[in-house]
């Protein structure tokens, strides 16, 4: 059922490690992430401070670790929301068709005509910062992909014989859709969700970098990278580097995972 490639397992391992770090960081970090003067300011990585310290002596390792649960959490929430809403919406319009289908498609086209990151920045700027707003906005942007994909899957499968056979057993149409057709269309949707998670992780980082997104003062990779910018010029590479590495690993792992899932789905179909 699952792909057996090395990429798949490596990506899965990285995601699992980030997940464990996220859970761990919610309870424990070597130093409190927002504590000042845990060591000398601008200290390069040492055993006491494996990722170094910043201008006010805060421990970068603790901050990077602590940001894991924010970034991983937002990414999973966004993808979960988009997957759930997109699958339900797409499945219904794909199954029933009609005016709801036509209207939905036009609506999604309008949404897709805006440049994604610009739209996210504008909306968050208008709504204000906050984790909830970030999750909602970043989830709405890739929604058209999910809707179209599940709509196409359902449309191609609704005339298959097992769907008709399911109706013959006395199931109502909505039951045929959600009990029989939707489970059969999840494979490409999950692959898409994984690739989308990669984009979400990068976008959340980007929003944090430009100061939009979560509340000021909370710890997040994108805003940490922005915070360390000034120091990079004077040799303090570690302040920006390690949170940037976090974004890189999260985004890359999801992308490779999604690639492996897509490959597996394509080879299964052919």
């Amino acid at each position: 059922m699952l792909p057996r490639s090395l990429t798949f397992f490596l990506a899965l391992a990285v995601i699992c490690m980030l997940g464990i770090a996220a859970i761990l960081s919610a309870f424990w970090t070597p130093h409190p992430p927002t504590a000042l003067e845990t060591g000398p300011p601008f200290a390069s990585p040492t055993w006491a401070h494996p990722f170094g310290t910043d201008a006010v002596g805060a421990d970068i390792f603790s901050r990077t670790l602590s940001a894991t649960h924010v970034d991983v959490g937002i990414t999973i929430a966004v993808v979960g929301l988009a997957l759930l809403v997109g699958t339900i919406w797409g499945s219904i319009i794909g199954f029933y068709g009609g005016w709801a289908d036509a209207v939905s498609l036009r609506l999604l086209q309008v949404l897709q005509s805006f440049p994604a990151l610009l739209l996210a920045m504008l909306v968050i700027f208008a709504l204000g910062n906050g984790i909830r707003n970030v999750i909602l906005v970043v989830a709405v942007i890739p929604l058209p992909d999910y809707v179209r994909l599940s709509r196409a899957e359902i449309r191609s499968k609704k005339t298959w014989q097992f769907a008709e056979a399911a109706r013959l057993t006395g199931r109502r149409p909505i039951g045929v859709l959600f009990r029989h057709l939707v489970p059969n269309s999840m494979r490409p949707l999950v692959a898409n969700a994984s690739i989308n998670a990669s984009w979400v992780a990068a976008t959340v980082g980007a929003l944090g970098f430009v100061g939009l997104g979560i509340e000021p003062g909370s710890v997040e990779w994108g805003s940490m990278v922005a915070g360390g910018q000034a120091a990079v010029g004077s040799g303090g590479w570690w302040i920006s580097f390690f949170p940037g590495l976090g974004i890189f690993f999260l985004s890359a792992a999801f992308h490779l995972l999604g690639d492996a899932l897509t490959d597996a789905d394509i080879s299964r179909r052919s």
């Binding site: 298959w160 008709e164 056979a165 057993t169």
Partner: protein, 280 residues
Amino acid sequence: MSSDPPLAAEQATSTDVLLEIADYSGGFTSQTGVFTHVLNGVAFSVARSTITALVGETGSGKTVTALSILGLLPRTFRRISGSILFEGRDLLKLDDEELRAVRGSQICMVFQDARTALNPVFTIGTQISDVSRLHQRVSKKQARNTAVEVLDRVRIPDPRRCMRQYPHELSGGMAQRAQLAMALVCRPRLLILDEPTTGLDVTIQADILELIVDLNRNEGMTTLFITHDLGIVAETCDAVVVMQYGEVRETGTCEQIITSPRNAYTQMLIAASRFQGVSE
């Protein structure tokens, strides 16, 4: 119109009739609004505890007739006249809710290609227990026990193992048995088989036919057997309905149809089948 009104009338008056289709006509409307007749005054009846064959070439309206019984025609189908009485109730007059109660519990259908008629992502056990849970108030465990029993009834060698298997893990014959089990789980009163043995090896085909005959003999299962193979008809069925171009050409007992067909089309079908010798 039926070319054989005397026999149809005779069967209709009998109290042993389970299903009676009378003067059923209809057709499909294309997107451009053109109406095409596909059924023209179809009339025949199925007596209780018999195997009735519905025979005819591709496009003769066999499957449309069968799907009409279950009320599962595409929206483009329009009925012009007729009635389909099942135990005295006109199925064409039932609303969606009432029809759903009939489908799967009182009338069941088995398709030609079992592996496409079963859902690829669920195990056989899940699919069979799903059907009984849909129609009866039973617990998950009871439903699974019933599923094992019904798999045993259709002579699947290791029912408990089959419960855990997915459709793609089964051979064609096993999948057809599983589909049959799914149809039988609610003990329906009418079983419709749409070319159930086409595409199976001859030996597997014989096994499945034997099973269908045994279900009829031992449990009194009334069966409507749709096929184009008169060889099968001669071996298994009690009564035969011959259809061509959406009309019933001839109805009668199996022996009568095979040995002394009155209709020219029936004679042609028999001549074309491998049981040519029987008709001469």
